[in-house]
Assembly symmetry: C2
Homo-oligomer: 249 residues x 2
């Protein structure tokens, strides 16, 4: 059954869906009728089963009877930010979709020396809106309780604004030198929030790594194989889920 | 520096690259000259640094002086098979590429009830050849020591031929019921080989799950979020790498 995010707090026993896009999807695309049930997630991250009581075409709203669903949250117990170097449109869209499925809280794209792309100032808003839409759809499909926020920063300095309790940078040279234990050690400390930065295909420049290390980003290896730029964040997010959602102490 | 697979055992101090495709790539695409070094992996999974001594255009071969590189293997310590339900061309190509980067030993595509695709008998060979080529290129790029084998079976019964020591099936219903510990338990037992089967977007049919369970495939949940069909195998492979390559006892 589909899930939709609503921009309100749901309280009481009824709720009117009036977001134009959701209205259109429920009434026109899915052609739901009275009595059909959809899931709604409100801004308190609560999940409700919403039984359609009236599709009010004149006012473009759907009246529903709602009931709180008392199922565990689908959110990771830690807040996870993946910060990825800017890349081609299809790759960043793909990273946004997959990172959302895999539980990221925040997705930051940043400009780095060896990035093959740079966004001009006048396109940033439009591009972020498109990525935010992809994140919303993926979050609905994967039954998340929040929509990850997608952010763009045009330099590494500004990435520091989004620092978490534990900050990492995936570094190929660390992997080559056989560094294998820092990610495990970091996750064993159970930080409340984690950020990992991922370089472009050409990697980070050495001075970028120095800059990040000095800003308390720990260089970590992610195993012996060379992953493409878009694969490494998926590895990272999967590992966090395994560690914090499947591994019971 | 690029890596190429050769179809021979390298012995002694010299080696002639005569595979037409590799010759073309080294000599024409990359335009290497005498003195340049490329990496070669032979059929014994050994890595060699090969210094070009002569590019023999007349005989389409490249003579090299080879030296064994004594670096640890980039292969997973367990043999991992991902078995994925058949899907659209771009998705299975993507699964093949990413599974290779993430260390799969064998990639099986199979037909299941809710698969949206079925390969006709007369296209299987051609489609597998294309996927095998994708696997080779991804293996070279990610610096693997083997090329994963890509296999197609047109029914679940035939999937049993590829069973490993531990056999799993990723099952959404297991995840919904809060099953979180079986993957961890299975990996803790350190099997020599693991296979995990992944259903199509529509999931496995209940009788398919029964069939697999009776064939000793353990149903496992992969966390609380619903992943797309192509995302789940990536999660699985990433977790295996974390468990067996990064987590030192």
């Amino acid at each position: 059954m589909e899930q939709y995010f609503v921009k309100n707090v749901i309280s009481g026993n009824s709720f009117a869906i009036d977001d134009p896009e959701t209205f259109k999807h429920v009434a026109k695309v899915m052609r739901h009728k009275n009595g059909d049930v959809v899931y709604l997630v409100d801004t308190n991250e609560k999940l409700y089963a919403a039984t359609i009581t009236k599709i009010d075409v004149d006012n473009s709203q759907i009246l529903t009877a709602v009931e709180l669903v008392d199922s565990p949250s689908t959110e990771m117990p830690v807040a996870v930010t993946v910060a990825c170097s800017l890349s081609k449109k299809d790759k960043i869209e793909w990273i946004t979709q997959k990172s959302t499925e895999l539980g990221a809280t925040t997705i930051v794209f940043f400009d780095s020396k060896y990035s093959i792309m740079k966004w001009k100032k006048n396109v940033v808003e439009k591009k972020l809106a498109r990525l935010q839409e992809i994140a919303k759809n993926a979050a609905q499909q994967s039954k998340r309780r929040i929509i990850p926020e997608v952010i763009y920063v045009d330099n590494l300095q500004d990435l520091l604004k989004y620092k978490a309790e534990a900050n990492l940078v995936a570094y190929e040279e660390s992997a080559k030198q056989g560094e294998i234990s820092r990610l495990v050690q970091t996750l064993d400390e159970t930080p409340k929030s984690v950020l990992c930065a991922f370089g472009p295909e050409g990697g980070f420049a050495p001075d970028e790594i120095d800059f990040l290390n000095q800003a308390d980003f720990l260089s970590v290896g992610l195993g012996p194989r060379i992953m493409r730029a878009e694969t490494a964040p998926m590895y990272f997010l999967s590992v966090l889920s395994y560690k914090y959602e499947l591994t019971v102490k």
